[in-house]
Amino acid sequence: MLLTIENLQAEIDEKQILKGLNLDIKPGEIHAIMGPNGAGKSTLASVLAGKDAYEVTAGSVMFDGQDLLELGPEERARKGLFLAFQYPVEIPGVSNKLFMQTAVNAVREEQGLLALDMFDFDEYAKDKIELLEMRPDLLERSVNVGFSGGEKKRNDIFQMALLQPKLCILDETDSGLDIDALRLVANGINALRSESRSFIVVTHYQRLLDYIKPDFVHVLYDGKIIKSGGFELVHELEEHGYDEIIQQSK
């Protein structure tokens, strides 16, 4: 098992958001998490990535054989957990190159690999820039500054391609994307699929899932997973909405 979440409970500003969430993910699996606004989807993503505004009050999370909750956000990232942000952050004055070279080398150091110098890094980044059809001057530009919404999300997927994580958590990466940007993001994700890499795709919509065909779909409501199923559950949701499932679960 790559990730085991048991009875996870978490709160922010003393308001409980996650109320006993369970989820198992094996290597290579793609799990979609859907649910109405306020169900706790983004909280789950943030708690897994280690954002300290959230407090975990009960439960456990095992990631690749270790207690995830014991690790700081940077240690989680170095051990192979990746969060694609719902709102990627702008960092004026820090170039994408400095940012990602520092990040890639932090992960490589964890893996006992030698650091990449700037020439090695350029070479390493080249085909990933092409894959996501990023602008050629991407590396020289400040992180996300002056990027459109779509470019920011693609930049996150580009970072994911560089860091080669074991578990990718996509927090509403599809929101705000036009058809072309959505296709590019989906291509990026599909190119990264492998037998050892798993995904948690948090989304409101069917359109991204149509591209990447998840193995499992979960419905999150009021801090818990109330229904799980295969890809067919997506269509059921599109047809009937969340209400029916919520009613059944009560």
Binding site: A49, G50, K51, D52, G72, P73, E74, R76, A77, R78, F82, L83, F85, P88, V89, E90, I91, P92, G93, V94, L98, F99, M100, T102, A103, A106, V107, E110, S142, V143, Q159, L163
Partner: protein, 461 residues
């Protein structure tokens, strides 16, 4: 005659005043030209009536001089002593780029350490204040702006002790490619180095001037207060001339630094300046800039980094007097621990200065809850067809940015360092010569990595 002086001077200040007047008198006994003696004597009289500013003076309300006044520094050039420094010992303060090097140790020019001033590039001439004061006909250059220099308290002190420094002159139409690099080293405790510098750049000429202020204490000396530097620079930039100036102040964290610059620009000239303030417990860098001609351009930028109880004060007063002038300013402060920053900027636009384009920004990053920034950007506009703006923003590091970097495997200290450095670099990058820019950037990087401002990776491991 009844003196019109309502100023109350404390006994401590009186003692300091007589201390410096005595030093000035002693200088007057040495060989000096008549007009220099007269200038010093006039400064003594001013010193006697106004002493030093206190917190009641608006321009000094955040910059406490109590300790400076208490200390009564020995005037370094009054009794120059052997410092025994070799070029190897000062090597680390020299820049990695080619330059014409002038080295002042304890306020006195060291000819042996400095480059040979008889073999200068064509068009550049250097005269030293000491010689000018004693015999040269050029002495007029040092005295020309006496009243203006006396308008600042530390200008008065500078005039009273006028004896050291340099005078640079660039002939018309000559572009001096190689930067002039002036290193000022303090090696002794409890002394004041007083430098009176003059710079004259002729029509359509070009000059790059870099000034570096550092401390290299003799380890044997332990007792006492760290040294003080008092500099006055008067710069005359003729028509269509271009001057680039970089001042990097890295004295020990316990030193004092007062620098007043009076800059006169003629039409179509360009002045591009940068001040980097990292050292001293109390530092104050002031530009008084007079744009006396049409189509003048200038930029005055600064980056200050302070921690513990340092006080960093950076000021500009930019006077647009004629049409089509463009002035740009970006001042950035990073304050850690209980450091205090002071920025005071004034853009004045005279009635005749239509089409003025002035812009002044002050941005500050506080790294702790106890650091404090006092900022006062001001505009005073008497013309009606101008474009002027000023702004000020003070904040802390955005935690979302830190988390974003952490989520990519970068440690919190490293993330803090990256964001702080990026913040300062916006100003450093205004230095339009790459070699000098890189040298300044490197000095800031090393300071940030030292662990003095926030925990760094190496400091925590």
């Amino acid at each position: 005659m009844l003196k019109k002086n309502t100023r109350k001077i404390s006994p401590m200040a009186k003692a300091a005043v007589s201390h410096y007047i005595e030093a000035s008198e002693q200088l007057n006994k040495e060989s000096a030209q008549e007009e220099v003696v007269a200038c010093r004597t006039r400064a003594q009289a001013l010193l006697l009536t106004q002493a030093f500013p206190t917190l009641r003076d608006e321009a000094w309300q955040y910059t406490k001089l109590v300790q400076f006044v208490q200390n009564r520094f020995e005037v370094a050039h009054l009794t120059p002593q052997q410092h025994g420094l070799t070029i190897r010992e000062v090597q680390s303060f020299l820049p990695p780029y080619q330059a014409i090097k002038l080295i002042f140790v304890d306020g006195v020019l060291d000819k042996a350490l400095s480059d040979d001033c008889t073999a200068l590039p064509k068009g550049l001439s250097i005269e030293f204040t000491r010689e000018a004061v004693q015999s040269s006909s050029e002495v007029e250059v040092w005295l020309e702006q006496e009243d203006l220099v006396n308008s600042e308290p530390f200008g008065v002190l500078n005039n009273a002790l006028l004896a050291e420094g340099f005078g640079l002159k660039v002939a018309e139409n000559m572009a001096i490619e190689t930067p002039v690099f002036v290193l000022n080293i303090q090696t002794k405790l409890n002394q004041i180095s007083v430098l009176s510098n003059r710079v004259m750049v002729g029509k359509n000429a070009e000059l790059t001037l870099v000034e570096h202020f550092v401390t290299l204490l003799n380890e044997a000396e332990q007792e006492g207060v760290e040294a003080c530097t008092n500099v006055v620079t008067v710069m005359d930039i003729a028509e269509s001339a271009r001057v680039r100036q970089v001042v990097l102040q890295q004295q020990s964290d316990l030193g004092y630094y007062f620098h007043n610059q009076f800059i006169f620009q003629s039409e179509q000239s360009d002045f591009n300046s940068f001040y980097g303030g990292l050292g001293s417990q109390l530092s104050r860098h002031q530009n008084h800039l007079f744009m006396n001609g049409e189509r003048i351009e200038n930029s005055q930028n600064s980056a200050c980094l302070a921690h513990q109880k340092q006080l960093v004060d950076s000021r500009t007063n930019t006077q647009h007097t004629q049409e089509w002038g463009a002035s740009r300013q970006l001042h950035k402060f990073v304050l850690a621990d209980s450091a205090v920053g002071v920025f005071d900027g004034m853009i004045g636009v005279a009635r005749a200065a239509q089409k003025t384009d002035g812009q002044m920004d002050n941005k500050n990053l506080l790294l702790s809850n106890t650091a404090k920034m006092n900022s006062k950007p001001q505009l005073e506009i008497y013309a009606d067809d101008v474009k002027c703006s000023h702004g000020c923003a003070t904040g802390q590091i955005n935690q979302d940015q830190i988390f974003y970097l952490q989520a990519r495997g970068i440690s919190k200290p490293k993330a803090t360092e990256m964001i702080t450095k990026a913040f300062l670099m916006e100003s450093v990058e205004t230095i339009d010569r790459k070699d000098i820019q890189q040298w300044v950037a490197q000095e800031f990087s090393e300071a940030l990595l030292s662990g003095a401002y926030f925990k760094t990776d190496t400091a925590t491991e």
